[in-house]
């Protein structure tokens, strides 16, 4: 079955543009339906219940993903509606949901996002005129959830010991990282409550809910906090390679074997398996990535620089500044950092600024 994306957008002009880009991005691999926020029967009941009922009927039922504008207040049938009510309805039906805001407000406030870890949410980057980018992200998210949903029955059958860590590792095809992934479940258990089967729940609904919870966990936690996977900045910092040098194609080619290709890989957040980066360097007999790359390319690949003190190497990643940072000039162990995210830190300057609130 192809992807089925439901779009919630109250403003006709961006709606048409986003729809067009979503159709183009899906390229025959699915359908997109705009949710009717203006017409149709029935105006009784709370918004969440009405949306939930509508999502159970044609043409919205069996949705792979709901994509919603943050502000839906101009809806004629649902005046004052916001993405929150859409998300609540989606959560009850175990349908994955992601939001965006014209002007990019929600994703720009990192402090708010980081401190709201316990609420499963996916916020897409969006600026007017960049509907294509939004559509690319949305389709990647839909494909990611569909991939997890497709792999789940096999993973559940194969595993002798089913835990969030073993299940996710099996779905990602990396059973050797099960222990590390399991550390992303520690201290953040609310997110994983949906992974437990409710009494009397049938397999179909349970699998749907489980796939949805696993997808949010992967997006919101495992892919966000560097530890088992690392983004471009965190990878270069961990490898002790200056970010500019790490972005060069010949340097990237040395580490291509460690590139993450699992769910959400195409969403614009390029990631590498940290353990595979370690193995590439260690198997070459080098103490860090800078030495390894310099040797392999026969040219000087510069070591990383701590953003707080450029004279010393980095090694870690500041979750607030999104810059490389050294152990010496940063602090770890914030309560909402998953235990597995051992490369996630807060730089000294951000700590001085935000410390009392952390």
């Amino acid at each position: 079955m192809g992807l089925r994306i439901i779009l919630f957008e109250d403003n006709p002009e961006p709606r048409n543009k986003v729809l067009e880009e979503l159709k183009s991005e899906l390229a025959g691999n699915g359908e997109v339906f705009p949710f009717d926020l203006d017409g149709g029967p029935g105006r009784d009941g709370v918004y969440q219940d009405r949306i939930e009922s509508a999502l159970l009927a044609d043409p919205y039922k069996d949705a792979t993903l709901i994509v919603s504008d943050f502000d839906l207040s101009a809806s004629q049938k649902y005046p004052g509606l916001s993405e929150q009510q859409v998300r609540a309805a989606a959560n009850r039906l175990a349908v994955p949901e992601c939001g965006y805001a014209r002007g990019g407000k929600p994703s720009s406030d990192d402090f708010r996002r980081l401190s709201k870890q316990r609420e499963a949410s996916i916020v897409l980057d969006f600026e007017p005129g960049r509907e294509k980018h939004l559509a690319e992200q949305a389709v990647s998210v839909a494909e990611g959830f569909a991939f997890i949903d497709g792999r789940l029955p096999m993973a559940l059958n194969e595993l002798k010991r089913t835990t969030p860590g073993t299940l996710m590792a099996s779905i990602l095809g990396k059973p050797e990282y099960a222990d590390k992934i399991a550390l992303y479940a520690s201290g953040d258990q609310d997110r994983l409550v949906d992974m437990k089967r409710d009494d009397g729940e049938n397999d179909k609904l349970y699998h749907k809910r489980l796939a949805c919870a696993l997808g949010y966990w992967l997006w919101d936690s495992i892919l966000r906090y560097p530890g088992v996977l690392v983004n471009q900045v965190a990878a270069s910092s961990h490898l002790n390679i200056l970010e500019d040098d790490f972005s060069q194609s010949d340097v990237q080619a040395l580490f291509v074997g460690a590139l993450y290709g699992g769910p959400f890989a195409e969403s614009g957040r390029q990631q590498w398996w940290r353990g595979m980066l370690d193995d590439i360097v260690a198997d070459g007999g080098f103490s860090d990535g800078s030495e390894f790359a310099s040797n392999r390319l026969d040219t000087k690949v510069r070591p990383s620089q701590c953003s707080e003190e450029p004279a010393i190497p980095a090694g870690y990643y500041c979750m607030f500044s999104k810059k490389p940072v050294s152990l010496k000039n940063s602090r770890g162990g914030l309560p909402w950092f998953p235990r597995g995210a051992d490369l996630a830190r807060v730089s000294a300057s951000k700590m001085a600024e935000l410390g009392p609130w952390l």
């Binding site: 353990g275 370690d278 152990l327 235990r339 490369l343």
Partner: protein
């Protein structure tokens, strides 16, 4: 700095398993410095050096669960990253017990290393020495706010007490046994058992000490744990 993933990750799993058990038992907190992923670093001679601190903050005492202690642990080990399996060449684990008023109760260090004459292969030494070499940054990371100079009773530090394998995993297991559960029989040492099971699952992936002469000695006289086994390397 890079060390193979399968060499450092069992240590991370082990320490986090202790942290999880301590959380669930309501025993206290665990802080590490540096992050465990950085505990292992390649050395210039090709071996791998482990160097890391743990602070078991406000942990419950075994006999009187209402009494709390702070425990600082400093582990330094040398590992040969052999393709046939990692081998532990040397281990020095120092454990410092503090009252919550920041006075040192006692410290003990567990040693294993190159065989030496009249030197038990595995042994412990009790002392009252404060940790040395702990930087301000590390102490801050560990939430370890004690000042040096408040040593406890004088004790004779040169007595070596032969022990079983008391390298890092074994020391953590003993700390779990001493602190996670109360002596209340109805509790059945549940949290200790859970941590022990996790350690058993991980132990094949952790480096093992190289003890051929001791193993030969044990095989030859397996009916009793004679003290001669401790000096088997001198035979």
């Amino acid at each position: 700095m890079s060390v193979r993933y399968d060499l450092w990750s069992p240590y991370e799993s082990l320490v986090n398993a202790l942290g999880k058990a301590a959380d669930q038992a309501g025993c206290g907190d665990i802080w590490t410095s540096p992050p465990i992923g950085s505990w292992l670093q390649p050395s210039e001679n090709g071996d791998v050096e482990l160097d890391g601190y743990l602070h078991l903050a406000r942990w419950k005492s075994r006999c009187e669960h209402s009494k709390l202690v702070h425990i600082l642990l400093h582990a330094q080990e040398t590992i040969l990253d052999d393709r046939g399996g990692p081998m532990l060449l040397k281990s020095n684990v120092r454990v410092y017990y503090y009252r919550t008023d920041a006075t040192l109760l006692q410290s003990v260090h567990f040693d294993y290393g190159k065989p030496q004459a009249a030197h038990p292969l595995f042994h412990a030494q009790v002392s009252n020495v404060e940790p040395s070499g702990l930087s301000t940054g590390e102490a801050e990371e560990l939430r370890f706010g004690f000042t040096a100079g408040a040593a406890g009773l004088t004790c004779y530090r040169d007595a070596r007490i032969p022990t079983s394998d008391m390298t890092l995993p074994s020391v953590l297991l003993c700390l779990a046994a001493d602190h996670l559960d109360s002596d209340d029989a109805s509790q059945d040492k549940r949290f200790f058992r859970e941590f022990r099971d996790e350690l058993l699952r991980l132990q094949d992936r952790l480096p093992k000490p190289s003890i051929p002469s001791m193993l030969d000695s044990l095989k030859a006289q397996s009916d009793h744990l004679h003290s001669s086994h401790w000096f088997a390397h001198m035979a």
